[in-house]
């Protein structure tokens, strides 16, 4: 099998149940026996109503949530790393080089200017600071974030401005796998179109994506197939 056709992500038998110990041990099952494979150039869009577990699935794939059972294997350095079993430093290495994530909200770090935030993923991968800055500037311009904001930390920015910083930070380098959780939620039509172009560009160059898109136009523009999470809902 050529490496180009190997799945970049293989999810097998994944289950997630929350146990709330301080709420009388409440057990909240989300999904079980979930299977999914994503190949280069595919954009799998998680579908279903809110509360069905789309974000929980995405966070489980990223290693942000701990699944109850099953595996999430990510092709990293030519081998599969199981995110559910890997050590923290192995997960951080997968995130740094292979697995990108655009969340709905930007986690703002006090005092760090926007330009520096956007450069960071490149600096973490050993890219020369001047080159990193050049690429950050190009991307922020493309995303039409006013240049006067670049030297400021994004804490006081509007939702749409923060969202664009978040997108720039994730698209500044090409991750083989990207997870997109409502990346266009607070953007106007023009900015949405720019983000759709970024996503399509990454897909063309072989990135595998899993996305959640509330906006039907964006979803139709980028999805290669839909993945109804409801099919794996735990039977009541």
């Amino acid at each position: 099998m050529s490496s180009a056709s190997r799945p970049l992500i293989i999810v097998e038998g994944l289950a997630k149940t929350f146990v709330l110990h301080n709420a009388g041990g409440a057990v909240i099952p989300v999904f079980e026996r979930l299977h999914m494979e994503v190949r280069p150039g595919e954009c799998v869009v998680l579908s279903g109503e809110s509360g069905v577990g789309k974000s929980t699935l995405m966070r489980s794939i990223y290693g942000n949530y701990a699944p109850s059972s099953g595996s999430v294997r990510v092709l990293h350095d030519g081998d599969y790393t199981d995110i559910t079993q890997a050590s923290p430093h192995a997960i951080l290495d997968v995130r740094r080089r292979t697995l990108g994530y655009v969340s709905q909200f930007l986690r703002v770090i006090p005092r760090v200017p926007t330009l520096r935030l956007v450069m960071e993923p490149l600096l973490d991968n050993g890219v020369d600071p001047d080159e990193a800055e050049g690429r950050a500037r190009d991307l922020l311009s493309a995303l039409r974030l006013p240049e006067r904001l670049w030297a400021l930390p994004p804490a006081t920015f509007s939702g749409g401005e923060q969202q664009r910083v978040n997108i720039a930070r994730s698209f500044i380098r090409q991750y083989p796998v990207m997870l997109l959780d409502e990346p266009t939620a607070s953007l106007d039509a023009e900015n949405r179109a720019i983000v759709v172009e970024l996503i399509r560009g990454a897909l063309t160059s072989g990135t595998a994506m899993i996305g959640i898109f509330h906006d039907a136009d964006v979803r139709d523009a980028v999805a290669t197939r839909l993945f109804p999470v409801l099919e794996f809902k735990v039977a009541a």
């Binding site: 929350f18 301080n22 942000n64 701990a66 050590s87 923290p88 430093h89 951080l92 290495d93 006090p110």
Partner: protein, 264 residues
Amino acid sequence: MNAVANIQAEPLLRVQGLSKWYGHVLGCRDVSFEMRPGEVLGVVGESGSGKTTLLKCLSGRLVPSSGQVEFETRRHGLTDIYALSEPDRRRMQREDWGFVHQNPRDGLRMRVSGGANVAEPLMNMGQRHYGEMRRSTVEWLERVELDTSRIDDKPRNFSGGMQQRIQVARNLIHGPKLVFMDEPTGGLDVSVQARLLDLLRELVRDLGLAVIIVTHDMAVARLMADRLLVMRRGEVVETGLTDQVLDDPQHAYTQLLVSSVLQI
């Protein structure tokens, strides 16, 4: 230098079955973990959970009742630090480690100038060239964003936040491999805290330092640490990747700890 530890690297620190009893009172029990170069480990838990006892045992300041703390020393390789002779252990602490106290008064010599405080670790390592030391000191004062014209002022004439930055410079100037931090932002105003945290975060990343940071502040833990040890009543109840522990805590105590943080 990368922010993330080299995953193939040999452990820098290996802790096995570490326990400390104060008579019949438990300090910490059966703590085991490994750290690699460049890794930042957060130790969280409420006061009385054993964080500080653990930090003291790890940093060679308190002999454990049982268990081992092994460190990759320059001279002897991976060695039980409590098996070293007293002078050897002190030399290792001076050369390879830093320790940032919560209260700068515990980490600084208040009777000598800020500049002398920063330069002292170089002298302790045998540096004798005055001009060289002065140059290094000025460079470090700049790195921690202090006004270098105040190099000869005594620590008491600096604000709490500035004193803390002098302490940070003093603990990094000699190029340690591992730095212990005990609530480094604990006594500071929130705005001063943010500045210090950002500074620490950048230095840790640029220097590729391994850090063990004890904090009861979950926001500090999230910002600084790659992974966490959650302590309760002297025992580690949960450990893992920082964002996983904070966003999907598994243990009842961690769930309580995380849900008790006020959202702003």
